[in-house]
Symmetry: C2
Subunit: 254 residues, 2 copies
């Protein structure tokens, strides 16, 4: 991490661009990956949007998100076909010109020789003025970083390579820490008590994730999160205590 | 389908509610499922948003989406714990009161006897005034339908049961038809020509989905979509013709 500002949370939004996600034809695999990656390095993902390959919609979403969060990460729409309009839409949102970028052209020339670097592939060298390239070794076709917006490919392996490229350059906040506790109780049996803990520990959050254990039946994972190690430890201990109390009570009444 | 208005597209947005999706801890499995389901019955998904368990954010997203699309489908936040605030947020967005709903209480009494129907589980019976219940046979805890907003569970199996319940009651537009053609060419080799087809057939859309075939290398699926069978047939034939021309040219030059 180049910076670690401990005072302010660093926030992010993810903007997924593509008709194929909205039609359900392609199942998104990027949101969960990016969310997990950013959470791990201390960047809080606060919102995700998925929009179609429509310039007006991309520009509107981008302008709504980039003014509200520290970073916006986009995926999709930077390939060689007519519906790949992300780069042009980002240029429009920022009000900057866009043209074939010599750095991007040089990269693609490493991969495509002579007539192979045709009109379609040249689309992938259109980069908004003032952007830094985000390179990847898989396709060589770059994404880019302009202002607080990072534009990445939609193909998961390429997106992941690009995220590895930009990750170390992001400013990060104090990392969110977490503990996971298997409740061995049904969510509805501990919901009230968990709500009371949430009030008692305002600097921690208590997530409750029901799941079904094939052997023992309905169960719950409790995830406690805090940026303060001491708060996390105290809140986690309180969860263990609460679970003991609830189980004793259920045993007595049940 | 209860209605099939052929003149107007019926549109939808999906609103996913939950910190656990934004942190990457839980990977969403509902967006792709709902998108595919709605597309198949002639409802166009135009936008997706994921927001945290924060009332202000849920209300803002809901009000932005429900005025813009025919339907909004929400998932998540209707369980028994303190962070399940979807029902209250929906009531706030619509400006209607919310209270324990006798129909929902009756459903939960089938599953939870006496003290089992505790304060936490009673949260799941809070339904905004004027809403219809959306039942499910798995958990019995209902979702609901108010105005053009359909509120569903986050657990995929339960959400799917709820979607099956509401699906037949939705108004639907003329169904989008599609054909898929394996190009046996790299995306960059056909991008320009595909863009020309998109201009020649304005009532069809041409999606281009690169993939890697382990045996033959980089390849592309082309998906042609139209609501008109004749247009779809003509556009698909044009894609086959284009592919023949491109391959002949590549063979001649390569």
């Amino acid at each position: 991490m180049s910076e670690a500002d401990e005072s302010q949370p660093v926030t992010a939004a993810i903007l997924v661009i593509g008709d194929e996600i909205l039609s359900g034809r392609t199942k998104d695999k990027n949101i969960g990956y990016i969310a997990e990656y950013l959470t791990a390095i201390g960047v809080d993902v606060r919102e995700v949007r998925i929009v179609p390959d429509v310039e007006e919609d991309i520009v509107a979403a981008l302008n709504a998100l980039r003014h509200r969060y520290s970073y916006v990460f986009t995926t999709g729409g930077i390939g060689p076909t007519h519906d790949d309009i992300t780069a042009d839409s980002v240029a429009k949102a920022f009000g900057v010109p866009i043209d074939f970028d010599p750095r991007a052209v040089a990269l693609l020339k490493q991969r495509f020789k002579g007539p192979e670097l045709n009109e379609a592939r040249m689309r992938m060298t259109r980069i908004p003025h003032g952007a830094e390239l985000v390179t990847n070794k898989i396709s060589l076709a770059p994404g880019f970083w302009i202002g607080n917006v990072i534009v990445m490919a939609g193909v998961p392996t390429i997106m992941q390579a690009m995220l590895d490229e930009v990750g170390p350059k992001l400013k990060t906040g104090k990392q969110m820490l977490s503990e996971s506790v298997r409740a061995d109780a049904r969510e509805g049996d501990i919901g009230t008590e968990l709500g009371e803990l949430a009030k008692a520990y305002p600097d921690a959050t208590f997530g409750s994730y029901p799941f079904f254990d094939d052997k023992t039946g309905p169960n719950t994972n409790i995830v406690i999160r805090s940026r303060e190690p001491d708060t996390l430890a105290a809140a986690t201990a309180a969860v263990h205590g609460m679970l003991r109390d609830v189980k004793a009570r259920l045993k007595a009444t049940g």
